[in-house]
Homo-oligomer: 587 residues x 2
């Protein structure tokens, strides 16, 4: 009865919930529930704040933190990842929809829902087609640069709420230009409220836990209290605004947040809107996926668990589709909340589902209390959260290690700040690939000689080696393919244009992992040219897969020389019994 | 007095005419002049025909064969290249301007002039910035596929003139759809004229020269007469149309061709037009450059001369700018005419300038004679010329050698035929790069062992080698960079998840030409993970440039194992005096 078994295994692979739910115990439940409570407390103000950052009504942040978490609990493979609205994706959502030039808030919300839906479809389809490896084309330094620049952009964009002036824009210059131009409109009460909250939150982050521990409190409790800082700030500032009637003194507040279950929504299927949003949705999908997978892999490694990339795509894809049908906007796995979830002891994705229940209760019961919540408080929450993302050390690190990586990081940072998130991250990816192609198109070629008393060959410029004037051995440090085929021809023709009595050229192919058709044609041309000059062309250390392919062409029949298994064999045969130049005689 | 000398050398490098003109003799002049006469005879009907193919008035073909040739003679480095309108670039010009939806012939001509100007600027700037290597990103198979598909498209597009029906379009389906739909409009006289000319030209190409040689004619003269076939066809069919008044029986003729010097023209500087034409101009520039350089290099190699890529860009760039200011359209070095030029004995670029004088005389004196020239004759000239470009053997060759190259060729051919030249060639380039990146993102990793009685290590799956159960040596057959960093992590984690008592993992880096920052971070993660499992990580045969870079990071300080100069050193140290598994005991 094989078919049913196969079906069962396939089901479990595509529905990870079937795996972990089998061993679910009361203990696991307790751990998950405690983690869920802590994450819920952290997530309520964050969800409201990120919706504000995305330019959406606050309740959409709550809705995006309910059904998507349930979807991820069913389809995701990470046991610690906490899904929901995150800073960078919220900023990208704002940029994507900002480009559309919409004025009606209902259209704006519909665009966000549609963006989540398209992004969900892209991620799910990529997962089904096993395209998870595409995320690898975002190099680590580009991601690091992008996250840092995004953090600066986000913090800057929230300053307007702290000082109470209008400011728009998706680039650093636009934002700061607006801020400075409108500085005279500053609202002093908002400023005091904002700066105080900001100071309080920074202190909670750095100073509260040590203080609580000093009073003798248990570390676990101290941790939870420190995480509750933003909730305390929300409660306190809401009370202050209500009590002193600050709304009528120019302090911007959240206002009416509808009470109740998330609404049932549907994305727009207007082809024009899809066309306009598609590239943005693709970028959001990839950035969201990469951010989420980095967190998930870091946490999984700590418990020797494995993340399945293609299934993660499905998990995040269904989360975004869930967001689209329940009034949310694009979501992904968040760094800070996942770490909190992990530290709080969550053991299975069920913790995410329990968090969803917590946020649902908040949406059902707490929203009237949010009416007087000042926007400055939410902005302060965001600023404190994103400044921890800003880390310029990647610039210094990459400068020291590799100028190419540095160029990619610097371009990503500058273009993200100067031209916005979408241009920045696209340029980072394109530049990384272009620089890689450029490097491989001008490969390192080393002329090698024999290290005395070994069978080993190294660069004549770096090591004391034996050489022979009739034999030139070139080690090509790159696969041979269309982009560097002509370079190799030029290199060899230049090398043999000398007064030495060269009789043999050996191409040492230990680093040649591939010879494509363009390169094969170049090798044929080189072989022919050398034949005309009375020089034989040999090859050594050709790898199995490369040799298999060469055997399928006419090249080996026409080759004037031989293919040697090892460079040492080539050396022995071609230098023969005659004396070779000792290292001292090297020129 | 160094500065003047420097200036002189720089002048000569950028103005190759200063080099060859110094040794110009009467003999060289005679050779060049004879070659010029032959090329002129060949170029007159071709210039008219290709202008027709580009959708332009016939005289623009003549104008494009005058000043551009002079510019190339001054700035170009090839001594045999014949510049002018060519088939593929004419087709691409038709496609580029066809997209604009222009109806007024004057606008159409202005767009062609502007296209030549933009293309000239692109080529010249690329030359000055030394970007000639960019042409290498067009792989040989993609070019071969593109040229073959273009040949089919061009021949198909000319059939309408042969059978005398209207037909438009830039894809095979559009062209043949139009041809078949309009078949009832066929003009029998045009058909007879066209098919007869086509048959005559094919016979001239294949059968005339052997016949002349059989009569005892000297080979040189037989060759020239065979090349004059199209001119004979032009003269004969023009006379037939005039004599039998076929114009009034529905045979399409060239009509009035203005007599005189090429006009002084200027490109449009309308930013909208530039934006619309820019991508087309870029594609035309690159395709034209690649086609031209391939011919030039082939011919230069026969005489041991060298082509300077970056100076060639300047040569072709100034030729196109010259075309734009003298009523022409985009030009490049043509294959057939350059071979004729070479075979006819041209020795310097002056032959091109003399050809220009020949075409100028034709424009001044012969244009009234072209009034009754039937378009069918020009179409037949084009069909015979381009069918020699069609060569499907590249499909078979690449299928046998490499499926990846085959995929790139097949996509280029199908997309060129199905969606037009611009989509086809762009897809070919993008696909070549994407497939290369995909291959490098999943590198070949071989587990290697010692070949007995040598110091050489090969794949345990392909060779009888010695291994040791405590030591796993992995040879990574690719540079390590962002696209494959995660792949390596996964590969190693999977390899060590077994029951063997592994104590050492050695990464043999003879094929690793680069370790970028992303890969460095992956190596750090692997080192840490292996340390937790009590396994040391070693490296061997790390190349000089890679080692230099690793020394600039903290990686070597944290590495749990050693870096060995050769894999044999690693083997000796790590297996120690204990016995190793003999090949027979391999599992």
């Amino acid at each position: 009865m094989t078919p049913p078994k196969l079906t069962r295994a396939a089901f479990e692979r595509h529905l990870p919930i079937l795996q972990w739910s089998k061993t679910y115990t009361r203990d696991t439940f307790t751990s998950d529930a405690v983690a869920a409570v802590i994450v819920t407390i952290m997530l309520i103000p964050q969800s409201l704040a990120y919706a504000l950052l995305a330019g959406l009504p606050a309740e959409m942040g709550l809705y995006a933190s309910i059904l998507p978490l349930v979807a991820y609990a069913i389809f995701g493979t990470s046991r610690a990842l906490a899904v929901g609205p995150v800073a960078v994706v919220s900023l990208m959502t704002a940029a994507a929809i900002g480009n559309l030039g919409l004025t009606n808030p209902a259209d704006y919300a519909l665009a966000a829902i549609t963006l989540a839906f398209i992004s969900g479809m892209i991620l799910t389809v990529m997962g089904v087609l096993r395209l998870g490896f595409l995320a690898n084309f975002l190099s680590h330094p580009v991601i690091a640069g992008f996250i840092t620049a995004s953090g600066i952009l986000i913090a800057s964009s929230q300053l307007k709420h702290i000082i109470g002036v209008p400011a728009e824009g998706h680039t650093l210059i636009q934002i700061w230009g607006d801020l400075l131009a409108n500085l005279t409109l500053m609202n002093p009460i908002t400023l005091i409220l904002g700066v105080t909250t900001l100071g309080f939150l920074f202190w909670v982050r750095k100073g509260l836990k040590p203080l609580l521990l000093w009073t003798g409190m248990k570390p676990r409790l101290a941790d939870i209290l420190a995480k509750a800082g933003p909730v305390a700030a929300v409660a306190a500032t809401t009370l202050v605004v209500w009590f002193f009637d600050l709304e009528n003194k120019g302090v911007a507040i959240v206002g009416t947040v509808p009470m109740g279950l998330p609404p049932l929504t549907a994305p727009s299927f207007d082809p024009d809107l899809w066309r306009q949003l598609f590239v943005s949705a693709l970028l959001i999908s990839i950035i969201g996926f990469v951010e989420s997978v980095s967190v998930a892999q870091t946490l999984a490694a700590k418990k020797r668990q494995r993340i399945v990339l293609d299934q993660e795509l499905v998990g995040l894809g269904t989360s975004n589709i869930a967001a689209a049908i329940s009034g949310g906007y694009p979501v992904t796995g968040g760094f800070a909340r996942s770490v909190v979830n992990f530290d709080a002891g969550s053991e299975t994705p069920a913790a995410g589902a329990f968090t969803a229940i917590g946020i649902l209760l908040a949406a059902l019961l707490l929203t009237p209390l949010l009416f007087f919540l000042p926007k400055a408080t939410l902005a302060a929450t965001i600023i404190v959260a994103v400044l921890s993302l800003v880390d310029f050390s990647i610039l210094k690190k990459s400068w020291g290690y590799s100028k190419v990586d540095f160029a990619a990081v610097a371009a990503t940072v500058l273009l993200t700040l100067g031209l916005g998130v979408e241009t920045g991250v696209s340029a980072g990816v394109v530049l990384s690939i272009a620089l890689f192609l450029y490097k491989t198109s001008r490969p390192h070629v080393a002329e090698v000689g024999l290290v005395p008393d070994t069978q080993h060959f190294r660069n004549i410029l770096r090591h004391k080696v034996q050489t022979n004037p009739e034999l030139v051995t070139l080690r090509i440090d790159e696969s041979l393919y269309f982009a560097n085929a002509r370079f190799l021809e030029d290199y060899i023709y230049n090398r043999i244009a000398c007064d030495e009595p060269i009789k043999h050229v050996v191409l040492m192919c230990s680093a040649v992992n591939e010879i494509d058709m363009s390169a094969l044609e170049s090798l044929e041309a080189i072989n022919e040219r050398l034949r005309d000059l009375g020089i034989s062309l040999h090859m050594s250390e050709v790898k199995g897969p490369v040799m298999d392919r060469l055997k399928r062409s006419h090249f080996l029949d026409d080759l004037t020389g031989q293919v040697y298994l090892s460079q040492y064999d080539a050396w022995r045969v071609l230098t023969g019994p005659r004396a070779v130049d000792s290292p001292a005689a090297d020129d």
